[in-house]
Symmetry: C3
Subunit: 257 residues, 3 copies
């Protein structure tokens, strides 16, 4: 009945990645992030390092005002308390009204049935971008048909893992940057998701924006790992790499196919 | 009708700044900070680095006990949720009863009408110190008359920006330390506000205490920026600079006029 | 009436400490930590640095699911809000049902009567491990008899200070590692408590596990302090030291008697 989603895999050029990074640095987009309490500070610092401006209020009666003035909205379910559950639908509506891209990061949807159901309700709202790992994807979607149905509705899927896959109706990307030490620092995935949200605010092609944003974050991770002596020194090095990254750094490291 | 506030601008000596820093290091004042969730950890580390002892409980039924035993209270509105809104008036009353200085940092008062109204209610309680930037000041006060009315009531105003201005009934200060890289790290303003609160606990002249505290924080920022390769390495360097700062560091860098 | 608890003090060998550290690194235990908002990020990074997997959800309706899938539960009372108070009993019951060790860290029990009463209720549930300092111990227990009653019920007590004491029904440990600079970083005690919880998940002798976990954390603190220039650089160095610690590091530094 429904046609299979089978967009062709596109290469990603270093030039495009750097161009989008420069747009973020020039435009300094405001990103409102309703994110988990563990990730807040690191996410804010990652956004500032790429040149974006974070805000993080979760109060249900204030969040619409912040989102209306922002260029992108990120919803991360890492610690999903009562206040956040009430704020999230309000924030999404405000972003929709203002025409801003909405990203959803259904962290730990595979670890709690309540969260999985909540995340599925969010996906039904057709966010512009969903970032998740293989386990979260398996928990959220019954089968490939359910995944394709979401993509057909216009949502871009960024599935992170050994190889990162960006899937959309028009085009796919396969990315291979990153470093194992990133998994030894809390909230690197969450903070990386915020980079994608920032990139989606400066480029209407959300799949391309996601591919570029993910590449920038993972290349910064590689640059940091080459300087760090462990997961502790990785954090400051990662933020410095995001801040100082040049077109040459991207050319030397970008792995897309 | 009301006289214009026109205190003369005072110079700030490096000797005074270092003397107050030493008092903080010697006395190890307890600072209770009701601050936003993004800033909590960094603020606590900044307070510890200057020799103060932070506590951060926001539970409305516990906060009075913590504030009564503290030497200063800091109220920061960065993420203003339900619990914090209930805790703040209780905390202020406890600080008043114990005779402790109260500092208010109306973060993002310009970004949310609800928050602006809440902040104005707090200002009506005549805190000892209010720290804000130009945009927050513009949102909170209709005109210069409203600012002067607050100052006449005994509140010291610390307005941060390119040039920092401390305004009080008796004396003003103009300060020019700091570094642009500080704006690329989240919560540097919030954490700097906690330094002012700590300094206000060791010196009754709140304007002088604010000028000294702000100078110490901003000089540490300059010292850190001279060592850092970006906003990531700036954070550990900033904390180290606060911890190791000597009278010589202050003499070499202090810019007051 | 009740016999005095007087277990003999056991030496702790570097070999045992390293063996338990390796078990944590090999097994990668999941530790669910209901901890205070100031400590969350640092605690998660400390757990990741030793090879454990943190989760930190505090939502009362989700926490049982997370705890059931975890290998250990840590309860830290540092910022005890409404949500955490509701989540904690649910989490403890889930840990008990799953046969997982429960650690309690009654932070600031000496600073608030409400918190002291809440902590005493938790102790009545006979957690496997309680980590506290001298002041918290004095606030929680009327006399030595109350302490001994808890130990007789099967709880291991880790009392931190100049000298750390691990007390249990079968054996005691006296430990002397650590560095004063650790007290200049927020949540080092809280994060150290998470290491004990992780170690308790790989070794049924909770007293031995606590002694080894505390030694690993404090030795990492010494290694970090020897590299750091202040409390700022101490944090990344501490995480790197936990990540890279070898049997030789432990042999050279372990102080137990």
């Amino acid at each position: 009945m429904s046609l299979t989603v089978a967009a062709s895999t596109q290469p990603l050029s270093a030039e495009t990645v750097f161009d989008l990074l420069q747009r973020v640095r020039d435009k300094a987009p405001r990103v409102h992030a309703i994110t988990n309490s563990v990730a807040q500070s690191f996410t804010a610092n990652v956004l500032l390092a790429i040149g974006a401006i974070p805000s993080m209020t979760i109060a249900p009666d204030e969040v619409a005002g912040f989102v209306s003035g922002a260029d992108a909205l990120l919803i991360n379910l890492g610690t999903l308390d009562e206040t956040r559950r009430r704020a999230i639908p309000v924030a999404i509506e405000a972003a929709r009204d203002a025409g801003r891209p909405v990203s959803v990061d259904p962290v730990f949807a595979d670890r709690s049935a309540i969260r999985c159901a909540y995340a599925q309700d969010l996906l039904a709202l057709k966010p512009d971008l969903v970032r998740l790992n293989e386990q979260e994807q398996a928990a959220l979607f019954q089968d490939r048909g359910a995944v394709e149905s979401l993509i057909r509705g216009g949502t871009v899927l960024a599935v992170t893992g050994e190889e990162d896959r960006i899937e959309s109706l028009q085009e796919d990307f396969r990315l291979r940057n990153g470093h194992p030490l990133l998994a030894r620092v809390t909230a690197t995935g969450c903070a990386g998701g915020a980079v994608l949200a920032a990139f989606a605010s400066v480029e209407r092609d959300t799949a391309l924006a996601s591919a570029a944003g993910l590449s920038v974050f993972n290349i910064a991770g590689e640059m940091a790992a080459s300087e760090a002596r462990g997961p502790g020194t990785l954090v400051p090095e990662l933020l410095d790499a995001l801040y100082t990254m040049t077109s040459r750094d991207i050319e030397l490291r970008l792995k897309s196919a």
